[in-house]
Amino acid sequence: MEQILLTGIFMFALFFLLGSGVWVGLSLLGVALIGMELFTNRPAGDAMITTIWTSSSSWTLTALPLFIWMGEILFRTRLSEDMFRGLAPWMANLPGRLLHSNIVGCAVFAAVSGSSAATVTTVGKMSIPELRRRGYPERMIIGTLAGAGTLGLLIPPSLTLIVYGVTINESITKLFIAGVVPGIVLAMLFMGYVAGWSFVRKSEVPPPEPKMSFGEKIRESRFLIPVMLLVVSVIGSMFLGWATATEAASFGVVGSLVLAAAQGSLNRETFLTSLMGAVRTSAMIALILAGASFLSLSMGFTGLPRALAEFIATLQLSPVALIVALTLFYIVIGCFLDGISSVVLTMAVVEPMIRQAGIDVIWFGIFIVVVVEMAQITPPIGFNLFVLQGMTEHQINYIALAALPLFLLMVVMVGLLVAFPELALWLPEQVRDAPGG
């Protein structure tokens, strides 16, 4: 009985601190402290410092600020213009025409940036006005952009996957590589949707673009090719085992500095703003991770994760039923918390549960990212919705409705992941081990 009361206080404190607007990282720290005081006699303060110091000074974590910085540098180049110009000629003959450049553009930018909102901003800055000028329906422009923007979380480098990997101590390289195939499949699903739309609503499709020869197409995308090469070498070096995630990230930073310099968009100001932007974003995530590492220690003492895992085991749920339940759980959490916070907050409890159920943790990482992506395009706080609202001045509800078909495709994606776990698991098995771990 006492145990239940204490657990009740603990959970109440968690929701109260988070809900009242205390910064997520500090809320987690506070709840963890309360947990330590309630459930053990250990000196809470010293345990806190040891845990947080170990997690904050970890070498694995260094991939995080580096990948953020790489995205920040490329974000400030001319990439957005080059992206549309370079992609449009290749998409013009597909059914659904230039709308595909939204999706492919997002997939490409997702591969240089770990963030989905930055993806939406960069691609949309150029493609929204260009597509509007050509008379594509607004609903389709906004919907495809909102949906495809979420690829930023799935296609490596993905900040959410780094955070997940650090939280459960799994190889970030493996997680990154695991995201590649599902990312491509999801992009194909989105493109299939655009193609389907062009057949069903023939009258909405604008007239074709003027024809271009192969040489002209290449010339139009000459600025995009170096970026593609950078992407391929960053991901490829990890896949071939030449570099760890951190090393690939530092290669990415150097490569994007060189690209920016070659384009003439690198100067003192852009260098410093990209660096300081990366410092702030990485500190924001580091504070959450610091709080979360202490919380997971404290959670261990509460016995809550173990009890919950045992409870789930007694329910004799099939893994599929468990996954359905967790999907709903994360969609609800996603209504209140951002992706990274919801991953770190729940992993202390969910990890024992999935290990007990025999679910592969790499697979689960991809699953959780797809589900968290869905939350990005659902109200009330879907983040991509806010970004698009800022860019287009449409109502949130209009944007959410435009993105609804893509949301449903993500549900299909979760189904595919469950039905064919190899989608996420086959490629990582082919990864060679990097030297020096």
């Binding site: 809900g19 009242s20 607007g21 205390v22 910064w23 997520v24 990282g25 500090l26 720290l29 506070g30 402290l33 303060g45 010293d46 806190m48 410092i49 040891t50 110091w53 904050s56 000074s57 070498w59 974590l61 260094t62 600020p65 580096l66 953020i68 910085w69 963030s115 909102a117 930055a118 900040l159 570099a243 951190t246 090393e247 990230a249 530092s250 290669f251 150097v254 660096l275 932007g277 410092v279 702030r280 974003t281 990485s282 500190a283 924001m284 995530i285 580091a286 504070l287 959450i288 610091a290 209140f336 918390l337 951002d338 992706g339 990274i340 983040f383 991509n384 970004v387 030297p435 020096g436």
Partner: protein
Amino acid sequence: MRDRLVTAGRLIRPVLDALYNASGVLAAIALLAILVIIVAQMVARWTAVSFPGGTDYAGYAMASASFFAFSYALNHGSHIRVSLFLQRLGGGKRRAAELWCYGVGGFLASYFAWFAIKAVRVSYKLNDISQGQDATPLWIPQMVMAIGTLIFAVALVDRFVCIVFGAPITPEHEGSDRAHAE
């Protein structure tokens, strides 16, 4: 009395702002250091030169980049919070809620800083050495955590005091930075 405090506050203001910015600059230098260390480590591997302790140094630089940036990020509204409830409040209620947040935050950060300082003293006294190949005395890198969180605590308490004295609640420009993390 109140006037005197306000005058004192005006005098300290530039000092504190300079402190937060300096802290941010240190964090940026640490981020550059991470890049340099990792690149040096790769070059060392290719040229078969040994660079013992590189991973540990990168870890210390990571901790510096995080802890020094906490206060800087706070002042730019980069730290994530659930603002669903806060946004619905207006006027006095909003101020009270913000005071609660900065109060709780200030307390927790101070608690953290207190024990971080204690950890540095203990490591120094016991002459704790890193387990890694670098064999650094641990109190040196841990000092970063102590100083960084102390400045973070000061920044939170600073905002708390400002709001008590009627400073406007800084506009929510949280979207700008969050956009890069999601």
